[in-house]
């Protein structure tokens, strides 16, 4: 289990990294707890790889400090850090066998040969690669390479394992399987894993906590649930999952409840929020497609927001359907619905007039 009581394993303190006049990482502060699977999520060029290289020691921060297990590791070279990295390309040594690849880290530590053999066998058993110990990397499949890279990075029992896009090079089926393997391995070993990824689904399923990065800065840190259901700003809301986003203006504040006028929807929406906002200020309202209920009859409107539109497009996936509903003024909303009843005929079809409603509690208020 994630240990939240003691000091964090890694403390990143106000780290900035500039290349010339490009700021790749901008005043990032972040903690990795002991025994957690953390994901750094962001689109390419957001600085996540630079942050990873700073943690591994391949780059030196322009300013700021990195503490690992309470010790300032900012100036410690990569070969002296209790950190290992699994490269996106896997970077297996092509002139060495699988066993030699895995043994490399221990050989550099001058571990006795007998102990190396023992430990390599142990690691290969863990990733189920014993039969391939004598193979060269170019005779391995993508999934096998990935497991060798994982075994090699874990053989020295690092305090922190960094994984750079660990699943990007695998095909879809293998990816799902490997996701579970990585999560299980992390649970068994109790090592802190930090996964860097551009794939929000990967981050959500793997990690216990996620940091969303944008433009070199941390946009939000939280559990997958927090990041998805309570995004901190427009960027996070749009990047993680699908969402309907509308600009609005606050018209009334009543305790924990707020009403906003959304021109794009042509209605007044209610939101629950404790934020102290003056009426008249601009804000953004958002709702996830699966939170919206679609009906042909007018629904109950108590504690619900309601709009009316026409089904413009629909995609049937079997388990669920995705609808695009267009309002009179042209605004489009995405709605997804589980197909709960067994029926070859859809209850809502193209060009149907529909009511869209969602709970006030499911409405997200975004101020930045």
């Amino acid at each position: 289990m994630t240990d939240t009581t003691s000091t964090p394993l890694v403390q990143i303190r106000e780290v900035t990294k500039r290349f010339g006049n490009v700021t790749a990482v901008d005043r990032v502060s972040l903690d990795f707890l002991r025994n957690e699977l953390f994901a750094i999520l962001g689109s390419s060029g957001c600085g996540k790889t630079t942050l990873l290289r700073l943690l591994a020691g391949f780059e030196q921060p322009t300013s700021g400090r990195i503490l690992i297990d309470g010790v300032d590791a900012t100036d410690v070279p990569p070969y002296d850090r209790p950190v290992n990295l699994m490269f996106q390309s896997y970077a297996l040594f092509p002139h060495m066998t699988v066993a030699e690849n895995v043994a490399y880290g221990l050989r550099k530590e001058r571990v006795p040969a007998a102990r190396i053999r023992e430990r390599v066998a142990e690691m290969l058993a863990m990733v189920k690669l014993e039969p391939l110990a004598a193979r060269k990397p170019d005779k391995l499949s993508g999934g096998e390479k990935q497991r060798v890279a994982l075994a090699r990075a874990l053989v020295k029992r690092p305090k922190l394992l960094l994984l750079d896009e660990p699943l990007a090079a695998l095909d879809k089926k293998l990816r799902q399987h490997t996701q579970f393997e990585i999560a299980n391995l992390q649970y068994q070993l109790g090592t802190t894993f930090v996964v860097v990824t551009h794939d929000q689904g990967e981050a959500m399923t793997l990690a216990s906590r996620i940091a969303v990065m944008a433009d070199g800065r941390i946009a939000q840190v939280g559990t997958p649930g927090q990041v998805y259901e309570f995004p901190a700003n427009r960027y996070v809301a749009g990047f993680v999952g699908n969402i309907n986003l509308f600009e609005g203006r606050v018209t009334g504040v009543d305790g924990g409840r707020m009403s906003l006028r959304c021109e794009a929807l042509g209605v007044e929406l209610a939101v629950l929020s404790d934020e102290a906002i003056a009426p008249g200020s601009a804000a953004c309202v958002a709702v996830r497609p699966e939170k919206i209920t679609l009906s042909r009859q007018a629904p109950e409107t108590k504690d619900r927001n309601l709009v009316k539109g026409t089904v413009w497009d629909l995609a049937y996936f079997g388990d669920q359907s995705l609808y695009r509903v267009r309002l009179k003024n042209g605004t489009e909303l995405q709605v997804s619905a589980q197909n709960l009843r067994r029926s070859a005929k859809l209850t809502v079809e193209w060009d149907d007039e529909v009511y869209l409603s969602w709970e006030i509690a499911s409405t997200i208020l975004l101020l930045s």
Partner: protein, 276 residues
């Protein structure tokens, strides 16, 4: 299937004949029993036998081999270091100019290279008293300078294809820079180093012009000796020695091509890509 044009085939045949008829005739006549170079007198190995008795020739051959081995070794080491430096220091100002300058000797006329090296050795002897006389040492130095350029080209091509994360991975696993160099970089570059060495070796073995410029009394390489002999008239034993050199060069060039062209482990190929 496309029909082969007879015209085209004739041109190709003519081209190859132009290249290979002289060489083949030298090889054939090296087995000529007759003393006359132009008259076939039956198969014989007598000229090969007479080579073994020729002290001057054997001495020159040994000297050439010694120079070729020493200069190829130094040229490979220096060339590899230069290639690494040019590859690594990618923020070095004027890298383009530097890399252009390193390959300039490839196209420099040999006369100019030879002449400028001769001037260098003479003025060095005047200024610092070394090299006191010209001979095997100066030839070796001259060969190192021009062979090095070839090694740089070969090694840089290999470096460009190498996955840099390999070295980072080794460092991440606890390899200090020197260990990483010998554990990862050198094995990765090995095919390029071997073919660079073989290339330097043949270049040195073949060289006549530059050697003639920087040589001194008493240091006669094999090409120099052959050239001197031919000026007094072609004797059949020249055909024999030439055939041996051709065989040697062919073997080495083929070996170098195989080694450098082998689908070697250049990069950790990214795994079979799924979708991105």
């Amino acid at each position: 299937m496309k029909r082969r044009s007879p015209m085209l085939m004739t041109i190709v045949a003519f081209g190859y004949a132009l290249l290979y008829v002289p060489i083949v005739s030298v090889v054939i006549y090296s087995f000529n029993g007759s003393r006359l170079v132009t008259l076939w007198g039956g198969f014989s190995l007598r000229w090969y036998a007479s080579l073994l008795a020729d002290k001057d020739l054997l001495g020159a051959a040994l000297l050439s081999l010694r120079i070729a081995i020493v200069s190829a070794t130094f040229a490979t080491a220096l060339g590899a270091i230069v290639a690494l430096a040019l590859h690594r220091v990618n923020r070095l100002r004027g890298r383009l100019l530097l890399s252009g300058m390193i390959t300039a000797p490839l196209v420099m006329p040999e006369i100019i290279t030879g002449l400028s090296l001769l001037f260098l050795f003479i003025s060095m002897a005047d200024l610092i008293g070394w090299p006191a006389s010209r001979g095997a040492t100066t030839i070796t130095i001259a060969h190192i300078t021009f062979s090095m350029a070839y090694v740089v080209v070969v090694v840089r091509a290999r470096l460009a294809a190498m996955d840099e994360s390999l070295e980072e991975a080794a460092m991440d696993l606890g390899g200090r820079p020197v260990a990483v160099f010998f554990d990862i970089t050198v094995p990765m570059l090995l095919p390029a180093l071997v073919s660079g060495w073989l290339l330097s070796f043949t270049l040195s073995l073949d060289d006549l012009v530059i050697s003639s410029f920087v040589s001194g009394p008493g240091a006669t390489t094999l090409p120099m000796l052959i050239f001197a002999k031919v000026r007094l008239g072609v004797t059949p034993d020249i055909n024999a020695i030439t055939t041996i050199i051709i065989a040697l060069v062919v073997i080495i060039v083929v070996a170098a091509t195989i080694i450098s062209g082998r689908r070697g482990p250049v990069a950790a190929r990214p795994a079979d890509a799924g979708g991105q």
